[in-house]
Amino acid sequence: MSGCDQCALADALPPPPTADRDRPRMVAIVGPPNSGKSTVFNRLTGLRQKVANYPGVTVEKRLGRARLDDGHEVTLVDLPGIYSLSPRSEDERVAHDVLAGRMPGFPRPDAVLLILDSTNLGRHLMLAAPILALGLPAMIVLNMADDLRNRGGEVDAEALTKQLGAPVVLASATRDEGLEPVWRFLTECGATPSPAELPALQDVPRCHAWAARLGRHASYQPPAPPLWTRRLDSMLLHAIWGPVIFGLIVVVVFQSIFSWARPLMNSVQSLIAWSGAWVGSLVPNTWARSLVVDGIWTGVGSVLVFLPQILLLFLFIGILEDSGYLARAALIADRTMARVGLQGKSFIPLLSAYACAVPAVLATRTIENKRDRIATILIAPFMTCAARLPVYTLIIAAFLPERPVLGPLLGTRAAAMLGLYLLGFLAAFTTARVLKSSILKSERAPFVLEMPPYRRPTLESLGLRLLDRAKIFLRRAGTIILAMAVVLWIVAHLPLSGGKVPPIERSLAGTLGRTVEPVIRPLGFNWKIGVGLITSLAAREVIVGTLGTIYGMEPDAKSRGLQAALRRDLTPGGAVALLVFFAFAMQCMSTIAVVRRETGSWKWPLVQFAYMTALAWGGAFLANRIVSALL
């Protein structure tokens, strides 16, 4: 009976594509989560990678090119981490559709590279059954062989090769060991697998027994338990020390993005000032120089300054994720999440929302429960994303002198920043609580989370992450922020009166600012902030460039710099109100667009935008009143 399932599947599939000289061969990389799949992908493709989305779904499509010794290239596609091919979650459906050749606009792969964790073969071998049943040439890489060896485990890859009728190799992708046969496989691809037997794919216990039998044939000796992981966990999941360390890690991350990034940011700033002066000297001293220097250089430059800080934040998130600590953090946080009606699975999207709400909204795909998913999407933009950092940094540095709070560990500025992060967090959780006890009420979904062993993050993987982030940030600076800078420069210089540029308050931008001023005056904002609030509807960090441009056009403010100009122009109440406004407001077109796409209608993004803006106005109003009364 085990054969029938497999035949039915094989019959339903289109035949493997025939060799085509024009198209580079396509090889899919498949594997369970935590099998080191992406490390293999990085090893094979290096920097020749591209991330996009599959049409119609939001699972990330990671494509890369591997250059072979014979000069040919192979396209590699890194499929999402899966435990089985039964299409239940979105990730599994994508993997299934790509492998079956049913993904629209995507060719069926010519071969499959299955990556399994050799220290966890008992479970991971189960995935070999549906993969081999595909009828595509396949190679199985038993990854993390160094770990297996060091912990006293072993497996006979030769015996597995015979049983499975497909090449099986031991390798260690992090150390670049044992990947030679993989390169050969990419060159030749080889024949379709001819396994001795396959279990009925729908029957998990049978598949499990099949995998166990294979293990015995290959004299699989599971490794000793990961001693270091156990030792670290007894500390990091300790009833008292666990939460203490969790809190300490958070504090250290914030303090360091504030203090360590400072010298780097200063050098970027001088580089921008220096290059602006140099470019200015190349352009004739007309309106064109003003556009280039005051418009583009000031506008884009004042945002670029924050690149080091944002990269540092992503570096920390990368280290936490790659080391395996993130799963422990989710475990520690689950009770808190449950209290507001969410689940531990919402934790990871919400944590990525600290970097950016867009990937966070995409990451909610792993939440099977639709209502939990929408609730998570709706609260994700409250988490303090990297685009808020420039705004917070500017205002805090302008208004708050740096003094130690907890000795050398925490200063006033980092503490203020931490407070703002906390504020966003509280807003998110209060909102979740309200949503989950009213319109999005649902049954509690089960929480299942694998705890991977701790691993040392590799420089390579961290480097690739940072490179990705830097590219995205620079692309934004080169498109949306550049465009806003140019538009702002134009509206700040028009209409010409008698052939001369009007004073900024009588320009189009000034008029616009003055129009909205009555609405924002109760918050302690003036019309210049009003212009910033309007331009930052595109993206939060744009306000920094806008304020830089507007204050840069005032002759006396120009010499004092933006921070000093703000200090003179805003009351402390207005400054705190501005921080609160940015903590709550949904000033981000990309997020609105992605929520629209993810939820399938304009209903949720509009509700979300209205709710967040109302909360921002109310919060800023209260903040202004309270601070003004206290001081």
């Binding site: 039964s86 239940r88 216990p205 966990d233 475990l331 689950d334 009770r335 929480f447 299942v448 705890m451």
Partner: protein
């Protein structure tokens, strides 16, 4: 039966909806497998379980639906 930290049991059956129990079985919670209760989040929930060489965290209400028999009876089977 309920496992306390450090205790071991044999999984007898999963008293859970089809899709949840499939997911858990793919992670190694297959009837007949030995399960060890390991560390937990502060307050004891969720708890990490060692099964089939992996460590999986489950909330108390899910874990309560994994019906176990004592480890000793495994030898009799």
């Amino acid at each position: 039966m309920e496992l306390r930290q450090g205790e071991q049991g044999i999984l007898d059956h999963l008293d859970l909806p089809e899709d949840v129990s499939r997911r858990l079985m793919e992670l190694g919670f297959v009837p007949g497998s030995p399960i060890v209760a390991a560390l937990s989040a502060p307050g004891g929930d969720p708890r990490v379980f060692q099964v089939d060489g992996a460590e999986i965290a489950l909330r108390r209400d899910t874990a309560a639906c994994l019906k176990l028999r004592p480890a000793a009876s495994a030898a009799a089977d």
